[in-house]
Subunit: 195 residues, 4 copies
DNA sequence: TATGAATGAGTCTTCATTCAT
DNA sequence: CATGAATGAAGACTCATTCAT
């Protein structure tokens, strides 16, 4: 019993160590030896759980994303208005982006480097679906205009929110404008959905 | 004189070769030796024009971006309405993204790798400014609502348009939905700006 | 009881698996993991029966050689003439070489690698002795000339027969000349022994 | 001019260093780093002249063999009798085998390991041809019996001489019997060829 | 005996960069 | 400016072996 828990933890342990080290040093400068040292396992053990260094990136992206989505789903109250939900989503996205900025940058670049851009789509799929649902519900409730392709708009919405959060926390030199971006973003989106 | 021109072109020749090879093979798999072979120069010659391999990425990004912006500026007619200009911008962005999809992915990843994310801002600066100007003009002309921070909205706008284009041409499996995305995007933005 | 038999066979099972895999992949590319997979036992089990990977080679060589010698001894009729016996020996040597060509190549290379060339001598000892006996008997019977060192000639003889078989089945591209070699070899030896 | 000589020497330098080190340590234990240290060049330089570690073996075999054959050809006097020539060939083969025993063992095992046994044939081709010529000449001169396939007998002859030399210098524990082997071998062959 | 997850030492190879010509 | 042979640091990955169960 204890054994099973241990086994399950070993992959997770390596993954967490990888996130830690990669966040600090970036993809190129991170050596497998750094990761296993951080994880407290042997060099060879890494290769029992991951086929290669590059295989880490999608695994991390997936892990990161799971957490974000969980956080969002758990915070959002289905009984509040669509716009209120939107605010919460933006809040959380900004928070998560701020907290994990290095890892996110890593994921973007890593997926591009390793040439598996399509992986993103698979990872995002549940998020797209979940947002689309909210949009359809809001359309049915007549909260927002209904002459839009809910699927595409879900993607644009996520793209816009995450892109803005990245703009603030990854590209911008300081974050003091975060609240301005936040406000403008919300306003921009509200107008887009307004009937 | 002919010689001088040739010499002057050598940097450009290497840059073009780099774009070609990088587009085909991706960042990790592209070796300097591939680039110089493609360019038809000696290995050492590369280092006469670029200080290092990593220095290529910003140079390419810059080159790419110049072309895009030029194309946009030259196509946009200042006398048409803001929304008409918007349509043109979206058109061109989609075109450029489609044409240079691999290079763009490369630029994103490359900038993240080399840790010079702030470079982006410098490169984009003129574009931000130019869009901001259009927004201010449109606000003054009362074409669009004026309760928005023109600077921030310029960034959001560019982010949204480019993000959507990338969605279509980099992440999506096929491009047959391009026109749907195009239409929804335009509609989304129009509603945002509407008074 | 059945269990005991099974256990006893486990070493043999591993040895056979090793022969199979090594014949297919060669020494360098064969991993212990391949062998145990083929044998259907666990990785650690290998080390219950063999102290190391290199220990396989002499074990295989020995096993191979035992079989060959048994086959030869059982086929040879002591009552026939020396030259008739020679023919049979050549026949069998050609057969065995043809059947186990990869394993033989392996044994040669393996013995050289592990630096235990002298092992060969030990393994061949019984064969040398046996051939030498035949030679002495034939000398006593005046079937062949007797001005030769029976010990040395036994070695030369074996060397020549096996070398020729290897020439045909290991080095030659096709085996269609096997019978020519066979005939020339026999004739060559006969003349050597002739009074 | 000096430059050309230098270039030509660098590959040769590495090859000689490889022979030295491999003779001492064997294939498995020899590291590229040992070879380049011995050769006095950089690690990477090795790969400018040889595609891999394994590529050394055929190159060494070839080099070794060239030297032997040259030595033989230069020593043999075409005007002497076939049997006299035979004696010289045996002499030289014994000498060369004694001198380069480790390298020869290496070549045999190495070619087997790397699975390129057929290379041997290509390398030996000129030697086979040269011996065959002598046999044919001797047949024409009626020095030896002419009811033999000169091609095959050339191979058997070489096989027998080299095999015996290896027996003496590679497998035998001490070499004090060398002259006995030498005498028996010559006698064995003479009888084979006798009319 | 049997297992197979874990170990970690060990090395081949790559490739950005340099510099003598 | 141009060359391209030479450099050598650096690290991903392998795999024989061990040992707790």
């Amino acid at each position: 019993m204890v054994r099973v828990i241990k086994e399950k933890n070993k992959r997770e342990k390596i993954l967490q160590a990888a996130i830690t080290v990669l966040s600090e040093k970036g993809l190129e400068k991170t050596k497998i030896s750094d990761i296993v040292k951080e994880a407290g396992v042997a060099q060879g053990t890494f290769y029992l759980y991951f086929p290669s260094k590059n295989a880490l990136i999608p695994a991390i992206a997936d892990s990161m994303f799971q957490k974000s989505l969980e956080k969002i789903k758990e915070k959002i109250d289905d009984n509040t208005s669509f716009f209120h939900q939107l605010e919460d989503i933006i809040d959380i996205t900004f928070q998560v982006t701020a907290e994990y900025r290095e890892v996110l940058a890593l994921c973007y670049s890593g997926l591009a480097i390793t040439g598996v851009l399509q992986e993103w789509e698979k990872i995002y799929e549940p998020y797209y679906n979940w947002i689309e649902e909210r949009i359809i519900i809001a359309q049915n409730k007549k909260e927002i205009r209904d002459d839009m392709n809910s699927r595409i708009i879900a993607k644009l919405l996520i793209e816009l929110i995450e892109g803005t959060a990245e703009q603030v926390y990854l590209f911008e030199e300081d974050e003091k404008n975060a609240s301005d971006y936040h406000r403008e973003l919300l306003s921009f989106i509200k107008h887009s959905f307004a009937k």
